[in-house]
Subunit: 344 residues, 2 copies
Amino acid sequence: MTGTRAQTAGEATPAERAATLCDAVLAGDRRSLARLLTAVENRTPLAEAALRRLYPMAGKAQLIGITGPPGAGKSTLVAALIAELRRAGRPVAVVAVDPSSPITGGAVLGDRVRMQAYADDDGVFIRSMASRGHAGGLSSATTAAAAVFDAAGFDAVLIETVGTGQSEVEVAATADTTVVVEAPEMGDEIQAIKAGLLEVADIIVVNKGDRPGAHRTAGQLHAMLADAPHEARPGRPVPKHPEVLVTTAATGEGVVELLAALDRHRTTSGRGDVQATRMARAEAQIWAVLSDRLRDRARSMEAAPMAAALLGAVAAHELDPYAAADRLLELMAGTGASSAGSRD
Amino acid sequence: MTGTRAQTAGEATPAERAATLCDAVLAGDRRSLARLLTAVENRTPLAEAALRRLYPMAGKAQLIGITGPPGAGKSTLVAALIAELRRAGRPVAVVAVDPSSPITGGAVLGDRVRMQAYADDDGVFIRSMASRGHAGGLSSATTAAAAVFDAAGFDAVLIETVGTGQSEVEVAATADTTVVVEAPEMGDEIQAIKAGLLEVADIIVVNKGDRPGAHRTAGQLHAMLADAPHEARPGRPVPKHPEVLVTTAATGEGVVELLAALDRHRTTSGRGDVQATRMARAEAQIWAVLSDRLRDRARSMEAAPMAAALLGAVAAHELDPYAAADRLLELMAGTGASSAGSRD
């Protein structure tokens, strides 16, 4: 600790508190880890200070996104992956993104309760995150949480989201490798198509493989992907067709093969893909911070009245948003655009 | 047309093409309107130029968001609202946000086909918009499309989204008044709660009112809302409890009452609410443009190599995103931060 202020006034700065908290997290203290994750979710100054310390220690973990329509068995598959990763001695963290309702009081945990089975295992940490109310974007909060787990030594981080909304699907797609889980015969058409899930898939898993239609569904997906044009995702190289696997998560069948496919994607065939995803993730993180900084600046004392006037003019349709944005840019350039990194 | 360039080189600038297109749109040409909406969805330079012209003419329309879980009967309700609004002689436009899949070829139109019934009525215009692939955000594209309809004289604009994802719900919530549609007895619990839909509701409609459970569901919602804390949405005043109505969209029952409730929300009880929503919408539009401008600037010739280096450093975890954002801000302030509004 360097601050004299903390010693004289008994009040630590965010940087000092972050240093203490990070030390505890790196030493394996689970309660400190939970506290830091809450700070990250709430985007407090403590979180920024802690992330700045931890970020350089991250980058080693394998980030695995798991998404798919409701009922495909994502949570069961996550539980099976945890079991298999633990068998291999790997510490594993889960960021489970839940839809939530502030009115009814927080995240709908649903079947995550079964993950309580791992409550006693220090090598497993499961964190639910509400999908709503993230001003800076859900994916930025999730990426930050994954970086914390990564720095804390969890070498596999599973990011589980329900694949029924654009943001939710995108969050899973920020992982190094994205697994789309599909159940056999969930209707006339394959559910994942409807939600636009296939585009983000690096690996497709047809789960509930003990059901009659499983291998037929896998075959349909194969055929469909073979016919599909190779369309590149923004900021990504032309993709290879995703592997299609069949698992029965409830019994663990096919899970070892899924882990092997994940490793293949990471180390060989999908290597360029993973690198491109990491670049896209870095870009999104930088822009999330940048956007925060600019909002703070627009709300700063000097700029606030002008920003409010511009806002009112656009709301009243007296000014178009393009003109307002350009004036705001000029304004922000004038009031300390170069002071960001050099306030002291 | 002012440009000599267009006359000499036979090649109009975006501003000139926008002027011609806007004139046609304002004169009621539907094909031009469709073309402009495509430009808006693809965020072309033509769209920016056109929106700058049209934006001051917008601001009069009533923007109505319609969202809810799949199966609640949103599309049927939208059709019933169109019929009722047309009966009152009001021109009505619909922006229907569809989940989409590039691999399988665009928006899943589903039951929107029945809206074809209005194909011959010049007072009705229905536009589907893909929910995926909007770099600048789905709500920014939807807001821009609504402004185009507004300027073109559609005095009611319905924004219909499926309420199963954060972005999708938020899009409906950018309207002046947000209607959450719920079907009776869709399971043990009321579906809207799960998705966090109630928080965005100005009016709740229990549709399929001819089913046995409809009035019981309405009663449950009433009771639940009475118990709920008055939680303010960001940038909004403390909300009133939403009205709960019962409709049977298939027969049109309750739709007149819904329109009356929409007018009440707009003109009396929810007036402060509507104003706050318009401010929030203006803010989101300005930030979407600002963010675009900054991205363009970061990709500009002078800044690009430095921005790419920062990106690479963050992806490699050699630099944290906060430090990168601060350096990028300095960089952008140095390379033309004040030239935005004065390039010529």
